[in-house]
């Protein structure tokens, strides 16, 4: 049984994440789309999806939530960041003019285009393989190298390599998922990744936040 809060800070489509969670929830569990700190305190699991640019995302979080309090709450229960919900956990993003982020994980958010050598298309949009670098409850029943769906132009580079949960290759090898204690965050979109994506969401719901 889980009571899941999906953080809605006024950007991006939170509904597809909500629909996918509803698909895998048991009868006694609930999903709520919210931006209230009370709801985030009361729930058992937090999902933080996101689209758009990091700077705008930070502005919107700041507008909707008390950041100090927010950081305290999300250190206490299973937390899943998706796409921009991964990137804003880092220290700094170079998107647009550059922007400081939540600094929950040490590291930077970098442009794919600036780092790659070939003429591959940006955004990196489509299905790609996810190589599991560490064991984690999120990977239960998901084969190493499974395909997930990506849409992004920036990627995360953590300072501490032990935070890397998976890597993916698109001209360069980049971290496609990070973790630390109760926090897990993925660059890809589990809500758009068919069977494996739903399985990952189910694994998250069943996770107690311990590794």
């Amino acid at each position: 049984m889980a009571d899941i809060a999906i953080i809605d800070y006024g950007m991006g489509n939170v509904h597809s994440v909500c629909k996918a969670l509803n698909k895998v929830l048991d009868k006694n569990s609930t999903v709520k789309i919210t931006n209230s700190l009370n709801d985030l305190s009361d729930c058992s699991h937090i999902v933080f999806p996101g689209q758009g640019a990091a700077s705008e995302c930070m502005i919107n979080i700041d507008k909707n939530l008390d950041i100090v309090e927010f950081k305290k709450i999300i250190s206490q229960k299973p937390f899943l960041g998706i796409c921009m919900g991964l990137q804003v956990l880092m220290t700094h993003s170079e998107e647009n003019e550059g922007s400081n982020c939540l600094n929950i994980l040490d590291g930077k958010v970098l442009s794919i285009e600036r780092k790659m050598n070939s003429n591959l298309k940006v955004p990196h949009m489509g299905w790609n393989k996810v190589k599991q670098e560490n064991k984690h409850p999120l990977w239960n029943n998901i084969p190493d190298g499974a395909f997930f769906y990506f849409v992004h132009s920036y990627f995360v580079k953590p300072l501490d390599k032990s935070n890397i949960l998976s890597t993916t290759n698109y001209d360069l090898d980049f971290a496609s998922a990070l973790y630390k204690d109760n926090i897990a965050a993925v660059q890809f979109h589990p809500e758009k990744s068919s069977k494996m994506g739903l399985r990952l969401l189910e694994n998250f719901i069943n996770w107690n936040g311990e590794i």
Binding site: N13, H15, K19, A20, K23, K121, W127, S194
Partner: protein
């Protein structure tokens, strides 16, 4: 590593049902959208495209409802098009659960719509759909609008480049000469446009065999193939199509 080639079954939808016609006419029923989309997801489709082929003003609500239903059951990217005429149509489809919206006639009538939409919500959400016919007097292709009913003076090659420059995320290129004929994609057309634009090109119109699908990505250099009838009538499954492509050296998600 480049990206995996995508196979996209297309559901032409009219009044809440999946239909299939030949060269945009002779429409016949091909099933319930939710059921068909679910089956394709289970078979391994990389995305699903939904084209509302009636798209009259009264039918708009039907397509929104259909998209909402499909989005609750199908968890792969969903492209929806047909009758999209302005920014609010795009937003309505995205909030109903579409991941990408295809814009066709409205971009011809008002090319700035592409800039306007992609500036606000990003280019990954917008698929520029182009319906073309080859000219009889020269070997170029001309753009058609309104489900293939109206001819324009626009050259397909120039138009594809312009749409890409204006911010479209992908091009969905349909050969009306081939659509529904099962004679294969127009490879010259595909090659011409895929080689020139830097955004992904989705091949559409003419798939009849698995070889045709492979030809579209190998000879035609398309990034994705879209097909309707060969999948709807279970002539081939998506799985078979992917296995065939893999066997012939094309990178696909299996």
């Amino acid at each position: 590593m480049s990206l995996y080639k995508r196979i996209i079954p297309c559901l032409d939808v009219a009044n809440g049902r999946v239909v299939k016609g030949t060269k945009f006419i002779n429409i016949v029923d091909a099933g319930d959208p939710v059921e068909v989309a679910k089956r394709y997801d289970q078979e391994g489709a990389d995305e699903i495209a939904f084209l509302d082929i009636t798209a009259t003003h009264e039918a708009r609500k039907t397509i929104i409802e259909t998209v909402e239903k499909v989005a609750c059951e199908v968890f792969i990217p969903l492209t929806v098009g047909g009758g999209v005429s302005n920014y609010s149509d795009v937003l309505n489809l995205l909030s109903a659960g579409a991941d990408k919206v295809a814009i066709n006639s409205a971009a011809v009538a008002n090319p700035n719509l592409i800039n306007q939409v992609t500036d606000k919500i990003g280019r990954q959400c917008i698929v520029a759909a182009i319906d073309v016919k080859q000219n009889k007097n020269n070997s170029n292709w001309t753009v058609y609008t309104h489900g293939g009913r109206n001819s324009t003076e626009i050259d397909a090659f120039q138009w594809a480049k312009e749409l890409s420059d204006r911010g479209a995320g992908e091009i969905l290129l349909t050969s009306m000469d081939r659509d529904g004929t099962k004679k294969g994609f127009d490879l010259d057309l595909l090659n011409l446009i895929s080689s020139e634009v830097s955004i992904p090109v989705i091949a559409s119109g003419g798939a009849g065999t698995l070889e045709h699908l492979r030809d579209a990505v190998v000879a035609g250099k398309a990034d994705a193939v879209l097909a309707a009838s060969i999948f709807h009538y279970s002539i081939y499954s998506i799985q078979e199509a992917k296995e065939y492509m893999k066997k012939h050296g094309v990178l696909v998600r299996i």
